[in-house]
């Protein structure tokens, strides 16, 4: 795949999107200007921060569940519909937590990207 690097003067970049608003806007323009580079850095940083927050949150929940199942008072005897609590939590209860984390992350990541695109277009 060959990519063509666009090296137009910076001034013309600001005039790029026409009245139609949805013209193709080569992303290289953003990365060749100082402001564009800052935008990209902050996009990457916010995406990384988001991913780390979700990952750590999930791992903390996982650790709390694990500790609770081992040391929680009365866990070994608790049964719901005849199924031991630890089987219920590990066999079914964790999966919605995984799905929910993923769904929240997807929304937030898309929002970060939309914010970046707004910035680049307003520039």
């Amino acid at each position: 795949m060959t990519r063509v690097r666009v090296t137009a003067p910076r001034q013309s970049a600001t005039a790029a999107p026409g009245p139609s608003g949805n013209l193709p806007y080569p992303k290289e323009l953003a990365e060749d200007s100082d402001a564009g580079r800052i935008f990209i850095r902050s996009l990457i940083r916010s995406q990384l921060r988001l991913a780390l927050v979700v990952a750590c949150g999930f791992l903390v929940i996982l650790a709390v569940i694990a500790v609770f199942l081992v040391y929680g008072p009365g866990v070994a005897e608790t049964r719901i519909f005849g199924i031991p609590l630890d089987w219920l939590v590990l066999g079914a209860g964790i999966y919605p937590v995984i799905g929910l984390s993923a769904w929240l992350y997807n929304r937030a990541a898309a929002r970060n990207e939309a914010r970046y695109q707004d910035l680049v277009e307003d520039k």
Binding site: A30, I44, V54, L90, I98, N106
Partner: protein, 488 residues
């Protein structure tokens, strides 16, 4: 079990796989088609295909077998297998798709601008792929032996034959259809027999032979170290699996790569309900299977044991079909990604080279599988995850998120990770399964941090080797695509 049942189920799956493969042949024409299905696969198809490829012998047979043996300790396996996709979604899915590379070696070469990094990554990827194919073939050998009474080698050889035929004929385009079909086949093949067994047991009021929390072979509970190490391996191993990553290139853009991953998480969560149920049923109603060393065959034997007559035979046939779908789909996914890597590095990336490479990718692990014996399936796959997490994962994560990564750091990290984790695997195997201490049997908890530390340290020491292209590549990885594509 009636041998004719097992055999006809196996033949039916093989023929169905081959037919879908040849149907795909008419669509795939160009080299691009062969590798990544021209990136035109919609998220639902793609997610089913990823699920189909990922749910291997370990998930289909091994998880239930391990739950039968060790109960709640084994429930962490499916949790880890699923949560691994969460990590993949968070750190890898969209950027890797945006990188536009076909394979992991393509990615590391583009990111670090180095042919040598590419070579080392290729070696690691091929090692991971071969290690991962072996348990699939062991699973096939076990299934054929238990269900038809034929010698073990028939099963592994047959799987390799069918996979070679399909891959050589159709490339990845047809594989995508095959994989998607096989997810749904696997789900049906586990869910329907379990539902029938539950109905029968509830209907005739059978009393459990043993309580659910009791381990049938008296296996002692795993310690905190084993749990943590297992989770490290599964969480960080998934995002480096070559056959899973190559699937993400078939998404049209980064956003749809994330959507696909979310669907995959749903599909996996639904799937793992059924091995868990099978394992629980086995503990209560068939603990003798564990005592006679047939734990991995639990899923295959359960329906025949509790549902008699023709219905029992049909359910058994369905399970055998699902099991072979699992071996075939994971093996063919691995063979496709391995032959992508081998053919680009050895045969110049042509379609003919891809076919040659496919043969090479499938036949070598067959040799290993025929020489070695079946271990616990879920356990041996868990070790492959540990190896991936110690080698590919650090390079991938740091390459995507850290500008400071250098070629020297990447190579040092991969080699040290491979040496530490591979060494632990070899020594652990030589000492025998019961004798190896926990830190050798489950190396991920220390080998993964060590690989990360080496990669970062060497990169910092060789700061001047950060490639000049780093800003361009990083923005390519993270900047969202335009509605209208600007690349040619």
């Amino acid at each position: 079990m009636n041998p004719a049942v097992g055999l006809s189920a196996f033949l039916a799956v093989s023929i169905a796989t081959a037919v879908i493969g040849f149907y795909g042949l008419r669509i795939s024409r160009t080299t691009g088609d062969f590798y990544v299905a021209s990136r035109t696969v919609p998220p639902w198809w793609n997610a089913s295909a990823i699920g189909g490829e990922y749910l291997s012998a370990a998930s289909f047979l091994g998880v239930a077998g391990l739950i039968l043996l060790s109960g709640t300790d084994a429930l962490w396996f499916p949790v880890g297998y699923t949560a691994g996709y969460l990590m993949l979604l968070l750190f890898v899915a969209a950027p890797l798709r945006r990188s536009g590379a076909y394979t992991i070696p393509d990615f590391t070469e583009a990111r670090l601008d180095s042919r040598l990094v590419r070579r080392v990554t290729s070696l690691v990827v091929v090692a991971v792929g071969w290690l991962y194919i072996v348990p699939q073939l062991h699973g096939a050998a076990l299934t054929i032996r238990i269900t038809t009474g034929l010698p073990s080698w028939v099963g592994s050889t047959a799987v390799v034959l069918v996979v070679c035929l399909t891959v050589v004929a159709g490339g990845m385009r047809s594989i995508t259809f095959v994989q998607a079909f096989q997810y749904w086949l696997k789900l049906t093949a586990l869910a329907v027999p379990v539902a029938f067994v539950l109905l029968v047991l509830a209907g005739n009021g059978t009393q459990p032979q043993a309580p659910l929390p009791l381990n049938p072979t008296g296996q002692s509970a795993a310690g905190a170290y084993q749990h943590i190490s297992l989770l490290v391996a599964l969480l960080f191993g998934t995002l480096g699996l070559p056959h899973v990553l190559v699937r993400f290139y078939t998404n049209p853009d980064g956003q749809s790569a994330r959507r696909t991953t979310l669907i995959v998480l749903g599909l996996l969560s639904v799937f793992y309900v059924f091995p868990t149920l099978s394992g629980a049923l086995g503990r209560m109603f068939a603990p003798d299977l564990a005592q006679s060393g047939q734990a991995d065959a639990l899923v295959l034997l359960l329906p025949g044991r509790f549902v008699g007559g023709v219905a029992g035979d049909m359910l058994s046939a369905l399970v055998v079909a699902g099991a072979f779908a699992a071996f075939l789909s994971t093996t063919s996914g691995l063979v496709v990604s391995l032959s992508g890597v081998i053919s680009q590095d050895l045969f110049g990336g042509s379609v003919k080279g891809f076919r040659l490479a496919a043969l090479l990718a499938a036949v070598v692990p067959l040799g290993f599988a025929l020489m070695t014996d079946t271990l616990a399936l879920a356990g041996s796959v868990g070790l492959v995850f540990a190896f991936t997490a110690s080698t590919i994962c650090p390079v991938l994560l740091l390459g995507i998120w850290w500008r400071g990564l250098t070629d020297a750091g990447a190579i040092a990290g991969m080699l040290i990770g491979a040496f530490l984790c591979g060494g632990a695997m070899v020594v652990g195997t030589l000492m025998g399964p019961g004798n190896a201490p926990a830190w050798l049997a489950q190396p991920a908890a220390w080998s993964v941090p060590a690989a990360f530390a080496v990669t970062v340290t060497v990169s910092v020491m060789t700061k001047n080797r950060v490639p000049a292209s780093v800003n361009r590549v990083m923005s390519r990885l993270h900047v969202p695509e335009r509605p209208v594509v600007t690349e040619r």
